[in-house]
C-alpha cells in the first residue's frame, strides 16, 4: 500500500477575476507543492501576475484558495502575507523614497528575528548601500532588495513574479543564483518567462493562457517538447542563456 500524496501547500481552485468589466481569470486552478519551485508560465498578458495578485488578495476575486490547510479566500492581504507568504512583485515594489535599510526594516515581522545575516550574505551590496534611497538603486540592486526583503523573515512560500524581467544578462545570472539558492530552503511559486531560468530551478510547470490553466506537469517534460512549448508559450528555444527576452538594465 503506497502512502497518500502530500497535501499541496497552496491549493487554488476556480479563481475568477474581473477588472473593469474584463473577465481576466476564468477559473484558474492549480496547486503548489510544499517543496521546490512551481513555475507559472504563459505568454504576456494571459493572467499570470493577476493570478498571484488574486492569491494574495491584491485584486478582488472569487473561487477558493487554501494555504497550508487554511482557507484564505476571504482574508485581507496583510493577513495572508502574515501566514508566511513572501511576495516579490513584477515591478519589484521597493519604496523609492525609503533607504535600503528602511525598506528592510519595514519588512521585519513581529515575533520573528530578522535574518539580516542571510540577506547580507546573499546580497552584500545591500549592506554597502544601506543608507542609499532605494529609488536610486539600479534595476538589479532593486531586485536584490525586493528578494532580500522577503528573505528577512522565515516564510513558508515565496511568490516571485518575473525576477529577471528588465535586467542585464550579468545581473540575470546573479538573480537566478539567488532564486536557486532561495528555492533550496523554501517553496517558491515562480512567474517567469525566462525559460532557461525555469529549466534550471523549477520542477513543476503550470501554464496559463487566456485566463485559464491549459497545462500542468513537470517542467522538463514540457520544455523538452519543442512543439508543445511553441504551442503553449509561443517560443521554441528553451535552453538559451538565462537572459530575459525583453533585454534590460543593470
Amino acid at each position: 500500500m503506497s502512502a497518500a500524496p502530500a497535501a499541496p501547500l497552496l491549493d487554488v481552485a476556480d479563481l475568477h477575476v474581473w477588472i473593469e468589466g474584463s473577465h481576466i481569470l476564468q477559473g484558474v486552478s492549480f496547486t503548489v507543492a510544499d517543496h521546490g519551485v512551481t513555475s507559472l508560465l504563459g505568454r504576456n498578458g494571459v493572467g499570470k501576475t493577476t493570478t498571484v495578485k488574486a492569491v494574495l488578495g491584491l485584486v478582488p476575486r472569487t473561487g477558493r484558495t487554501v494555504f497550508a490547510g487554511r482557507d484564505i479566500t476571504a482574508d485581507p492581504t496583510h493577513a495572508i502575507a502574515s501566514l508566511g507568504i513572501g511576495y516579490v512583485p513584477e515591478d519589484r515594489g521597493v519604496f523609492a523614497g525609503l533607504t535600503v535599510a528602511e525598506n528592510l526594516r519595514l519588512a521585519e515581522r513581529r515575533g520573528q528575528t530578522p535574518r539580516y545575516e542571510l540577506v547580507h550574505d546573499l546580497f552584500p551590496e545591500l549592506a554597502k548601500r544601506a543608507a542609499q534611497p532605494a529609488g536610486t538603486l539600479s534595476g538589479g540592486q532593486q531586485q536584490m532588495l525586493a528578494i532580500g526583503r522577503v528573505l528577512l523573515n522565515e516564510n513558508r512560500l515565496l511568490i516571485v513574479d518575473e525576477p529577471t524581467k528588465g535586467l542585464a544578462p550579468r545581473v540575470v545570472a546573479e538573480v537566478a543564483d539567488a532564486v536557486a539558492r532561495v528555492a533550496e530552503e523554501v517553496p517558491v511559486l515562480l512567474v517567469e518567462q525566462n525559460l532557461a531560468l525555469v529549466r534550471r530551478v523549477a520542477g513543476q510547470a503550470v501554464v496559463v493562457d487566456a485566463g485559464r490553466v491549459v497545462h500542468t506537469g513537470a517542467v522538463l517534460d514540457l520544455l523538452d517538447d519543442a512543439e508543445r512549448t511553441r504551442e503553449l508559450l509561443g517560443v521554441s528555444r528553451t535552453s538559451a542563456p538565462a537572459t530575459h527576452p525583453q533585454g534590460g538594465t543593470a
Binding site: 496583510h78 512583485p89 515594489g93 519604496f95 523609492a96 523614497g97 525609503l98 526594516r105 519595514l106
Partner: protein
C-alpha cells in the same frame, strides 16, 4: 522697509496656519486617497472646544497655563472627532471615492451647522493670553506677537512630522504607504491602523490650527474651518499631494502671496493671486512643487 518686514512675518504666520491644516490633509490624501472635505470641521471643532474650555473646563482658562489646558482640550476634541470619523465613516467606504467625497462634504456642512445651532452664527471673541497680546517691534515694524507663536508652533509640527516619518515604525509605514499601499499590505502590515493614526494626526493638527486661528483672527465662527480649507487644498495641490516639506513651502508661498497682493494691490485680490499661482504651478509642474519627489512624505 518696515512694511515689507510686517508683510513677511504676517505672511509667514498665515502660512503657518495653512500648513497646520494642509499637512494633515496632504498625509490623508497621500496615504489613503481620501479627499477629506471634513478636515475643516476638525478645525472648527478644535477652535470651539478651545473657546468653550477656556470658560467652562475646570483647570482651563483664557490666560497662562489655563490657556494651554484649553488648547490641549481643543486638540484632544479635534483628534477624537477625526478618529471617530475615520473609524465610523471613512473606513467602511475605502476604495469608494465618490461616496467618501459625498460623506466628507456632508460632514463639512453638518458640523458647522451643528455648531451654529448650539452657539449661534455670530463671531465669538476668542480668548487672548497676555503673552501673545500686543506687538513686537522688529526692524521698525510692529508685529502682532501671535504671529510668532503661529510660526513657532508650525515649525515644531513640521519637525515632529519629519521625525515621526523617519524615526518611528508607523512613520515608516506611512511613508511607504504613500508610495505603494498595496505593497505595504503584501509585507504583512495592516495599513488600516496607520490610516486611523494619520487621520488622528491630521485632526490634531487641524484642531491646533483652529485654536491658533482663533488667536490670529481674534474670533471663531462656525464656518471658519470651511473657508480656510479652501486655501489648504490649494496648498496641497501646489506643494505636491504627498510631501510634507513641499506642503510647508507651499503654505509659506500662499501666505506671502496673499499678504503682499492684498497690501500692494486691492484688498481681497490676494485670494485671486493665490489662484493664479495655483494655475501657474499646475501648468508648469503638474506634480506640484515637490514634483518628481512627490512620493516622499518627508
Amino acid at each position: 522697509m518696515s512694511t515689507v518686514v510686517l508683510l513677511v512675518v504676517t505672511g509667514l504666520g498665515l502660512g503657518a496656519l495653512y500648513f497646520l491644516i494642509a499637512s494633515g490633509l496632504s498625509l490623508i490624501f497621500g496615504l489613503m486617497d481620501v479627499l477629506n472635505f471634513a478636515h475643516g470641521a476638525f478645525l472648527s471643532i478644535g477652535a470651539y472646544a478651545t473657546w468653550w474650555a477656556s470658560g467652562h473646563l475646570p483647570g482651563a482658562g483664557s490666560d497662562g497655563f489655563g490657556f494651554l489646558v484649553s488648547v490641549a482640550f481643543g486638540v484632544a476634541a479635534g483628534t477624537l472627532a477625526a478618529t471617530l470619523v475615520e473609524l465610523g465613516v471613512i473606513r467602511p467606504l475605502y476604495g469608494r471615492h465618490r461616496e467618501q467625497i459625498l460623506v466628507t462634504v456632508g460632514l463639512s456642512l453638518a458640523v458647522p451647522a451643528l455648531i451654529q445651532a448650539v452657539w449661534g452664527a455670530d463671531p465669538l471673541t476668542f480668548p487672548r493670553p497676555a503673552l501673545v497680546s500686543g506687538t513686537v517691534s522688529l526692524l521698525g515694524a510692529a508685529i502682532p506677537t501671535d504671529r510668532f507663536l503661529l510660526i513657532a508652533v508650525a515649525g515644531l509640527v513640521l519637525a515632529g512630522l519629519l521625525l515621526f516619518g523617519s524615526r518611528t515604525r508607523y512613520g515608516l509605514i506611512v511613508r511607504a504607504g504613500v508610495e505603494d499601499r498595496a505593497m505595504v499590505t503584501a509585507l504583512g502590515i495592516d495599513v488600516r491602523k496607520s490610516f486611523t493614526l494619520v487621520f488622528a494626526i491630521g485632526g490634531a493638527a487641524a484642531a491646533l490650527a483652529g485654536a491658533l486661528g482663533g488667536l490670529y483672527f481674534g474670533v471663531v465662527t462656525p464656518f471658519q474651518g470651511t473657508s480656510l480649507l479652501i486655501f489648504a487644498f490649494i496648498v496641497v495641490v501646489i506643494g505636491g499631494t504627498t510631501s510634507t516639506v513641499g506642503c510647508a513651502v507651499a503654505s509659506v508661498a500662499v501666505g506671502m502671496v496673499q499678504q503682499f497682493a492684498n497690501y500692494y494691490t486691492v484688498a481681497g485680490l490676494g485670494d485671486i493671486a493665490v489662484v493664479i499661482v495655483l494655475a501657474a504651478v499646475l501648468l508648469t509642474r503638474q506634480g506640484g512643487l515637490a514634483g518628481a519627489t512627490a512620493g516622499r512624505v518627508a
